[in-house]
Symmetry: C2
Subunit: 428 residues, 2 copies
């Protein structure tokens, strides 16, 4: 089927505006490890997808999925050891404060659970998030979506504060410590405004690496002090680890590198290597309270299939040493990109954690003026050279590099050659 016909059929069957990547969309038919293949057999190095974390078509995951579906896949109101074992294994990947797990099918559903947990336990509804974030697509979770940098704003019971960063600081010229204090003051003010508004303060939700904000370098001390402030105000700190967790940063959890401990942890994307699987983990007290208040049940969640596939993913991550792989290859790739920045005036910044790296494109000769057109051009030309990335960040000017965790040094080396050629081509 030619691409034009498929695009037309798709537009009718899924509706106009179902999102597609790239100026000329890709028609992908097969995946293997870090590679994706289009309908002509052309190979692309996948440097975008965090869901197939242990690699496309991972045989251990395929086998676990098929074996379980051929044995039993049913809802959770019968006893089954598998999902209990997965919950125990997930809880053990955190400190002792995280004890129990509520499974669901998507990050959106898991964030819905987190919000209801925090709101139910506090009896308040006000949530603070950042002003360039995304936590999911339901009505309640969607209230936290911010499409770009903006001002502190209250949408009913959600209050957005400027995300913390050092590149374009809230107070230019401030010391790092003063800058942290400036962002903390915004958090303090948001909590106060929710309290004065009468909705009260239930919690602060963050991606520990501020992924949708563009992976900013955060002023040292901000998150630890934010956590203290949140608890002092009687709220809960929700870590949305959907993107940051599962070894993405070279550590198990994003919060480990961010210097704080969350009360509620939300995970999703990589958990099932493509099987819909998400979780909200917290203290047993928080989970018990949530269950007592809501009698929460989710038809497809906590199933033997989710359990078997979730366990297989954890097995592969551990057996293949993927956390170490991410730390090693990620550090090397980031260092190599830093070298490029020194020589290229349109690379405004290189930052990130493990195998989640952002390369900021800026206007030549400007003081960090974001250039989203250039980022989009880089992304499209990298695709033409066989490397799949995307653009992201508060100004959409960050080339987002976030391959499956099995991405190796050889793949990084190939990418750097293509990246150099792409920049040279664009800069002429």
């Amino acid at each position: 089927m030619d691409t034009t016909t498929l695009v037309a059929r798709r537009e009718r069957a899924l509706g106009a505006g179902a999102p597609l990547f790239y100026d000329k969309p890709l028609h992908i038919v097969r995946g293997e490890g870090v590679y994706l293949f289009d309908e002509t057999g052309r190979r692309y190095v996948d440097m975008y997808n965090n869901v197939p974390c242990v690699g496309h078509a991972n045989p251990h995951v395929v086998e676990a999925m098929a074996r379980q579906q051929a044995t039993l896949n049913v809802h959770s109101r019968y006893l089954h050891e598998g999902i209990v074992a997965l919950a125990e294994r997930l809880a053990a990947l955190h400190g002792p404060a995280i004890e129990s797990v509520v499974f669901s099918c998507s990050g959106t559903e898991a964030n819905e659970v987190a919000l209801r947990m925090a709101r139910g336990a506090t009896g308040k509804t006000g949530i603070v998030c950042t002003n360039a974030t995304y936590h999911g697509n339901s009505e309640a979770v969607g209230k936290m979506t911010r499409m770009g940098a903006g001002q502190n704003s209250v949408v009913s019971d959600v209050c957005a504060i400027p995300f913390p960063e050092r590149l374009r600081p809230l107070v230019p010229g401030a010391s790092e410590s003063d800058l942290a204090e400036a962002y903390l003051e915004r958090l303090r003010s948001a909590i106060r405004s929710l309290e004065e508004d009468g909705v009260g303060f239930a919690g602060f939700i963050v991606c520990p690496i501020f992924a949708n904000e563009g992976l900013p370098d955060v002023p040292r001390g901000f998150m630890a002090r934010a956590a203290e402030m949140v608890r002092a105000a009687g709220g809960f700190l929700i870590a949305d680890e959907v993107q940051a967790g599962y070894c993405r940063t070279g550590r198990w959890w994003g919060y480990e590198g961010a210097g704080f401990t969350p009360d509620i942890v939300v995970t999703g994307k990589p958990m099932g290597n493509g099987l819909p699987l998400a979780a909200t983990a917290a203290s047993k007290g928080l989970v018990d309270g949530f269950r007592a208040r809501t009698r929460y049940f989710n038809t497809f969640a906590s199933s033997p299939l989710q359990a078997a596939v979730g366990m297989a993913v954890l097995d592969v991550i551990e057996r293949e040493g993927l956390q170490e792989n991410v730390a090693r290859v990620g550090a090397s790739l980031k260092a190599s990109l830093h070298e490029r920045k020194k020589k290229c005036a349109t690379i405004g910044d290189v930052r990130g954690h493990g195998l989640f790296i952002g390369v900021e494109m800026v206007k030549r000769g400007s003081a960090l003026e974001p250039d989203s057109d250039r980022a989009i051009e880089v992304v499209n030309k990298l695709k033409d050279r066989g490397f799949l990335t995307s653009n992201a960040g508060a100004f959409r000017n960050v080339v987002k590099i976030r391959p499956p965790l099995v991405f190796g040094q050889h793949d990084a080396d190939e990418f750097l050659t293509a990246f150099d050629a792409t920049i040279a081509e664009i800069d002429g």
Copy 2:
């Protein structure tokens, strides 16, 4: 692992109050067709589960799932023919007014989409539902949950009306036509109150067979005239076919037997035989508008895996003639249960559609006084005899019979023997 230990581990890992069926919970380890097996190897006839619609561990589904996961499973921003073909096939199962599909991972997510579609297209937010319904567990969809029969009530922008029924009619002694008019008057009044409240009227959401309400016999003409009233008021009729659709009633869709045509159709549970898969289908105009307004994206949905499994389920339903099986076995089972009602004073009613049958338990010698304790006793004793059902309905007094679509006449005959013995045992 003994059951007591597993229950204790589960309580810690999943939190207290994660729901379990039966006074003595079942530990299920294997499924095949209509059968489930516990840890001792004991066989149970599954007369509850609508998700594994083509049978537990269906080999065609297992094969499709494994093959696709071993080939490609990635998000929907690359072109892929599979999901387009599934959307086309689903739309073709409706009349010409249903053209395009938005996929998601759960009935909750699909109902979120339906609400946003209706609200976005009308610019209004008010929704009417019934007073004993359930449409999902998110904050927005959960506002429509009603745990039992109650009065007409407004919760912000959701207005609940009494569900239509003939057994305990809103106007005792009224003719069927007058009764329909009485329920319609409640709908009219709910629409008016939403308009007067300033939120306006966006739509009416119903399960076409009123499954959670307990499968009531609906006064003839109610739904067709309700549909006219909804459209005359500028709203949309949303059919939540999560339980009623996919041949459950012996027809493809519940609305076919209910005498109306919906504007938006929500499907879920049976679509993936256990793989999280749900959909919201509507006219292309409604879907286009929704996509333009929301730029909706769902990480795990519209995937090649959902497509392959969704197609496999439809293949099995068609190849094995399951629609006809449901119509035939369901009619026979319902007729046999009607025979039992004539001889048993505690069976207040037998009703339903296809392989979704409700048997109402009532207090002996009463005028239809609901007896949920007796229903729970019947359910637990049927379980002890190897038949899995549950209790449901506005008064929780309905024994719910809803087996996989592959449930055969032989299974029905076995069940009737066990049912007779159970009633005889309880009645002494």
